[in-house]
Amino acid sequence: MRVFKKKPKGPSISRAEALDRIPVKNRQISENRLETGEIVIGYPVTMRPFFAGLAKRFGGQEVQTQMKKLQLDELGTYVWNLMDGNRSVRQLVKMFAETHQLENREAEVSVTQFVRELGRRGLIGMR
């Protein structure tokens, strides 16, 4: 029997498949537009039991979720506004590249990094 077993990798998708996915915004988030036009997204985060315990001990109330905020910059706001639940990542990349006169590859790296970060924070899901 192998003691140090490699973790099985999750199902991986190709680059083309990933680009064809459609980002969909989480319904639990709130959007607040600043005067500069940039967007601040409010989103709930489930607290870890240790911190929830501390909050209960010192605050007296049981807190399970906490609201966090994420302020997008000009480019992030542009991509966020493009996400309408119908456009694929590939379409976002194309529009981003055209608007900012970027090479497709550079736009793809920017947009996919941003989409990945939003997904990591639970602000979007992929369809």
Partner: protein, 295 residues
């Protein structure tokens, strides 16, 4: 057939060639390039200077054994095809074909007797007839040296001509920011490209942007305009004879120069930074700045 106008030039570490406009650089290393088309890897290039005698047969044999071990590719020497032979008149060439579980392709080993560089070019075939034509055109455009003591660097959307005494020390291609750092002994020349300029300059002007890039404390940046482009020039050097004399013995650079310019039509900002312990060669800097462009 695609006209050569729809092709773009790649130039890196002394070699240069043209690829179809829709192919993209996927990996860049020291004397290594991997290029992709929309379906995945399309072409791979490796090159190196050669000391002493070069044997095509020995290198093919070595390559075959390496590839079989590392990537389970079987490699077979082939006679150089007629269309590739006409494309490769500047080189001593040997052709090979290769096959792995998932794909197959053709490649060449090239040796240039003039500059004594050996190059390995492999094509990943998915659509053989069209690819053969594309491959022939790429090989036809392939060169591994120039005759003017300059080295052409062309990757993504930047293109620069740098004296061959300057060696590339490090490179960075990040979304929004490209950086190529060249050095000739203690003198460094760093080429920058930022994009999109409209966003970077939406809350600050070019002078403020220059301040965010280089914090030279002793002097002030000077804004200007050249050929319709907004520019900023900023230089620092020891003010006194004593400072100049002392600068030779200090470990870090004492002479700095930064020039940045805004290409409004292309939505880019280009920059050249030079630093050294000795006074900077303005002729070299002028030459680099005049040839540095966004394509």
């Amino acid at each position: 057939m695609m006209s050569l106008n729809q092709w773009k030039e790649i130039a890196w570490y002394g070699i240069r060639f043209k690829i179809p406009a829709d192919w993209q650089l996927s990996q860049i290393g020291i004397r290594y390039l991997l290029i992709e088309d929309q379906f995945g890897p399309a072409m791979e290039v490796k090159w190196t200077p050669v000391k002493g005698k070069f044997s095509h047969q020995a290198h093919l044999k070595r390559l075959a054994s390496l590839q079989e071990k590392q990537v389970r590719k079987s490699l077979k020497p082939e006679p150089v095809s007629a269309e590739w032979e006409t494309a490769l008149t500047h080189f001593e060439a040997s052709e090979f074909s290769w096959e792995s579980d998932s794909t197959h392709g053709r490649g060449v080993i090239l040796f240039c007797p003039t500059c004594r560089h050996a190059s390995l070019i492999q094509f990943f075939h998915k659509d053989p007839p069209k690819h053969n034509l594309v491959a022939s055109n790429i090989l036809n455009s392939f060169r591994d040296h120039r005759s003017d003591d300059q080295v052409l660097w062309s990757a993504y959307d930047i293109r620069a001509l740098v004296p061959e005494t300057y060696e590339l020390k490090h490179h960075r291609f990040e979304a929004g920011r490209y950086e190529l750092d060249f050095a000739d002994r203690a003198q460094h020349i760093i080429l920058y490209r930022w994009a999109p300029a409209s966003v970077l300059l939406s809350k600050q002007d070019l002078v403020q942007f220059a301040r965010s890039v280089a914090g030279f404390n002793k002097t002030q940046p000077v804004a200007g305009n050249m050929n319709g482009c907004d520019t900023v020039e900023w230089s620092v050097s020891p003010a006194s004879d004593w400072g100049r004399w002392l600068s030779r013995f200090i470990g870090k650079a004492s002479y700095y120069w930064l020039g940045i310019w805004h290409l409004e039509a292309k939505n880019r900002i280009l920059g050249v930074r030079a630093e050294g312990k000795k006074p900077l060669d303005t002729e070299v800097l002028d030459g680099i700045c005049s040839h540095y462009e966004s394509v």
